[in-house]
Symmetry: none
Subunit: 254 residues, 2 copies
């Protein structure tokens, strides 16, 4: 174990108790002031520690940001997976989980259909953002300005006659999706494939992921697929509840 890092990290819980000046930190660490100063400086450069106007140190914004990311990254996929599997067992179709990141929508998990005719997709692959049901849900939840800006700069390829044609139509669709809390893609990407999707929300109500059930016409009609909507929404809500509800993993014992 690294002594220097160990000492530096020991400063964090110490500062979590409240602001402290250099002398206090050095004392409680049991090291010389100059040593504490260098450690604090390094922590400061990484934004984990902030120096307030009275020169005392306290935890910094970066730590809060990291904590946030830790929570969000933590478990969506792990939490969601069993639910996706169960949904697949119930309906038999392909189930997807997707997130929005850097102006793209990515599948982060899927459970393949148990029917011989399957829809093609790959985890990690960007989805057709202008037509996919999950994309609509994720984009519909973006702040208005960002949503507008993104819609304007997208291309609107006409995969089929039902593909979203332009930014105006897309924004209108997003507004509807936002209102109703679910989305569909009825032959907008592949003529013969339909999807129904529902959002997964975090504790603050924001959409953190979206899940969908997809099936080709030859297996079920669009009408039949739509009857699965309540089931999909219930599954998504279950994931939302689990994701925002409990503290997921235990920490390491001291």
């Amino acid at each position: 174990m690294s002594q220097t890092v160990d000492r530096a990290l020991s400063i964090l819980p110490l500062l979590a108790e409240g602001p402290a000046d250099l002398g206090q930190v050095a004392d409680r660490l049991g090291v010389h002031k100059s040593t504490a100063l260098r450690l604090l400086r390094t922590l400061h450069e990484h934004g984990l520690v902030y120096r307030q106007s009275d020169q005392r140190y306290r935890l910094g914004a970066r730590l809060f940001a990291l904590a946030q990311e830790a929570m969000e990254n933590l478990d969506i996929r792990e939490i969601a997976h069993p639910h996706l599997v169960r949904l697949n067992e119930q309906c038999g179709h392909t189930v997807h989980l997707a997130v929005y990141e850097e102006q793209e929508v990515l599948y982060i998990d899927k459970v393949d259909s148990r029917y011989p005719v399957r829809m093609y997709s790959r985890i990690g692959k960007p989805v057709a953002i202008t037509v996919a049901a999950v994309a609509k849900l994720l984009l519909a939840d973006l702040p208005t300005a960002e949503r507008r800006a993104l819609a304007e700069q997208l291309d609107y390829p006409l995969y089929t006659a039902r593909s979203t044609a332009n930014a105006e139509a897309f924004l209108k669709e997003l507004a509807a999706v936002r209102e109703q809390g679910w989305a569909t893609d009825l032959g907008g990407h592949e003529e013969s494939i339909n999807c129904v999707a529902a959002p997964v929300r975090g504790a603050d109500g924001r959409v953190v992921a979206a899940m969908s059930v997809s099936a080709p016409n030859v297996v079920v009609t669009a009408e039949e697929l739509l009857t699965l909507l309540p089931l999909v929404r219930r599954t998504a809500d279950a994931i939302s509840g689990e994701y925002s509800g409990r503290t997921p993993v235990k920490g390491t014992p001291a």
Copy 2:
């Protein structure tokens, strides 16, 4: 600056992007695997890094705990006080800091005017919630439902002819305040006293406190007082920045 600590801390944002195994961490740090291993171990012992079942590393729950604890121990008054003093030195008038708690707005700090004629107030005393500028800011940020409910159950004493008359007028005023991001009380409490106020916000943008400058007519007119608004807002923003731990200095090198 400490090289070892620097490297160790560089791992955190790296893992924030997603889980990574030892080799990836070592590569992106540009160090030998054994070095990365020791750093990760140290981070792990402090709970900042979690090792999931597939042996890959990710950010740990301890980060969240630290951030949470730091939030709770944040004392606005302590952080704000030097700023209040400085503002008082610049304008000479009485400066107040207030928070909302249990359906009341309380002064939690003040710096007295340096003019002989002073406004009376006491720290800890509930303020006139329907007219005080700081109260307007604090209530304007409440969730809509809570704000409505509170407005309905309040009394609207007519301290002066300019006092807020009823819930309807109050809610309208709060909406305006919410929109403009600052508030005034021009003779609504005491005929001869005016205030201008600005909000202090936490990292999440929510209003955690409000500060105001107050002065009687005999010292400065309402118009003159209003010219201080930019200064008051700047001070409030400075407190907000510090309270949320925003580090104004340079970022960390890649």
